[in-house]
């Protein structure tokens, strides 16, 4: 593998890793703060992709579609939290698994009723459709760099929100000791709703910006959900920093595995997870 090819694979792996981080961050936050395991998280990714497809067809602009879609997703997240999830924070994990598995079925079927079962493509906005030439016949699409840029911006935003703002302080207090935070006057219900909507929003935005390169198809949430689980397990449940490092690691192993060891590519990530589990059963960064 010469240098330009290596660079392309490296950029791809970082882009994939950052995309996984967007999903895993929401999953790990929702678990870390509310103690809920959410199997339906992949469905939000799918929802994002379908929203991007239908809204960008309607508006003729992907940017506008992403903005409107994100607002819709947050509203959807708030409604879902209010209607269902808030009643399950103190239930057993088994009940949460069942609830969210039931939701996967409901979301998949509603998707089929609303948008049908076809595979769709989303066109890249003209502004970002160029490619940067690396050698005579190798080039790198600008849109993938844009995706990484959006993910990095959102990751920095998430970091600032959690560690530098008053809301972030309340979120951390709620995660550390829910009852204590509540008796000190923190509206913990509002915090939970915010965190849940934030997680849904991140997953949907990930689905929306990924839609032009990943295409839009039924059941696209399942595979990504399992990758997110791997990321969260490696990183340590509840740790956003762990999720970032684990996501980049998984991105590297997966992308380079497909190039260097194609016959074993599907397994490598899981072997990485097994190795981490042997070494640190609670993930690299225990929250």
């Amino acid at each position: 593998m010469d240098f330009p090819q290596f660079l392309i694979q490296l950029l791809n792996s970082v882009q994939y890793g950052l995309l996984l981080f967007m999903l895993a961050a929401g999953l790990t936050l929702i678990f870390g703060i509310m103690g809920v395991v959410n199997l339906a998280h992949g469905s939000f990714y799918m929802l994002g992709a379908y929203l991007a497809w239908s809204l960008s067809t309607a508006f003729g602009s992907l940017t506008l579609a992403i903005l409107v879609g994100a607002a819709l997703a947050v509203a959807f997240g708030l409604a879902l939290e209010w209607l269902l999830f808030r009643h399950f924070y103190k239930r057993s994990h088994l009940d949460q698994v069942l609830l969210t598995f039931g939701l996967i079925y409901i979301f998949e079927e509603l998707r089929s009723i609303i948008w049908g079962d076809d595979v769709h493509g989303v066109t890249i906005p003209a502004l970002l459709s160029a490619s940067i030439p690396l050698t005579e016949n190798l080039s790198y699409p600008v849109y993938r760099l844009f995706m990484s840029g959006v993910c990095i911006a959102l990751a920095v935003g998430l970091y600032l929100l959690i560690s530098k703002t008053r809301l972030g302080m309340k979120i951390r207090a709620g995660a550390f000791n829910r009852d204590m935070a509540e008796s000190l006057g923190v509206n913990i219900k509002l915090i939970h709703a915010t965190v849940f909507a934030l997680g849904v929003g991140l997953a949907t935005v990930a689905g929306m910006i990924a839609s032009p390169v990943a295409s839009v198809y039924p059941n696209m949430g399942s595979q990504v959900l399992i990758m997110c689980f791997v990321v969260v397990v490696i990183g340590g449940i509840g740790s956003v920093r762990g999720a970032l490092i684990a996501a980049l690691l998984v991105g590297l192993v997966d992308t380079f595995g497909k190039v260097l060891l194609p016959s074993m590519a599907g397994m490598l990530v899981y072997m990485l997870m097994a190795a981490v589990l042997l070494w640190k059963p609670e993930g690299l960064f225990k929250a």
């Binding site: 609830l99 039931g102 409901i106």
Partner: protein
Amino acid sequence: MSAQQANLEKLPTSIKLVLGMGLVALLAFPFVGTPFYTEMVTRMMIMAIFAMSLDLLQGVTGLVSLGHAAYFGLAGYALAFLTPQGEAVSLWWTLPVAVLASGLAALIIGFFVVRTHGIYFIMVTMAFAQMVYYVFFDNRALGGSDGLYVNFKPSAAIFGWVPFDLDSKRTLYYFTLGALLLTYIFLRRLLFSPFGRTLSGIRVNEHRMRAMGYGVFGYKLAAFTVAGALAGLAGYLWGTQTGYINPELMGFHMSAHAIMMVILGGMGNFAGAIVGAFAFEYLLHVFKDLPQVGSVNLGKHWQLWMGLFIVLLVMFAPRGILGLVEKFMTRKGKSDE
């Protein structure tokens, strides 16, 4: 978080009576039901074995596995590999080999997963099952996404003597019923053996069991392996019945269905798992068979009905059918006083 309530381990006489009547009904069924329903009940019994094997983890030991279908599918694949293109293969050695293969896979994966707890356990079992899924899905040599055919049902011949023929639907029905009964008796005995009592203890309070000197890791690994092997028994029967194995059998939908069955019936006593498997498979059949209303084919949207059913069940009856029966009986008991 995953605090466990006490299980209904010892079945009240009334429930035992109902189960006995159920057994009589199952024994008589092939003479009453049509071949279609005989096949359906055979499938329900296979799923009941699968659900019971999961109950050993989920209900007894308190380990929620979201990857149990992997061991179910592996034994089915083992049968497909062992069956040659042109002739049947002997039941007597392929069944143990397939069950052992599933048990071995559970032992290896269990070595990694049982050291995790709670939510990690759920995620890691699911991830490893998905790994197994992709091994078969990605490799053409292992059947790829299309799966494999089992062209001939295993033969029960012993040196030319044929005690029974699994090609007959009725024989396969009774063979499956026998397997179901043996599995149930085995698991019930296991439940009240010192080993089963230790597993129950681990569910209730793992730290205390460890403090009392039990090697919790070994016990959990043993439970995981036995559960995997019994799931393999169900998978072998599935391969025999349908003659077809594909990666979807190992997917997480299948694993989640098994969890549903155990929940639906009631956890921790194996009878509930049987009831749950029958109820779940029947519901699936009903939802898929819903009629056309106007321009809408209700049956086509079975996932929606199943999803709504699961959400409502977990909101309003999280302890399943036996839990409802138990609640009803205790309420009646109280009003009698």
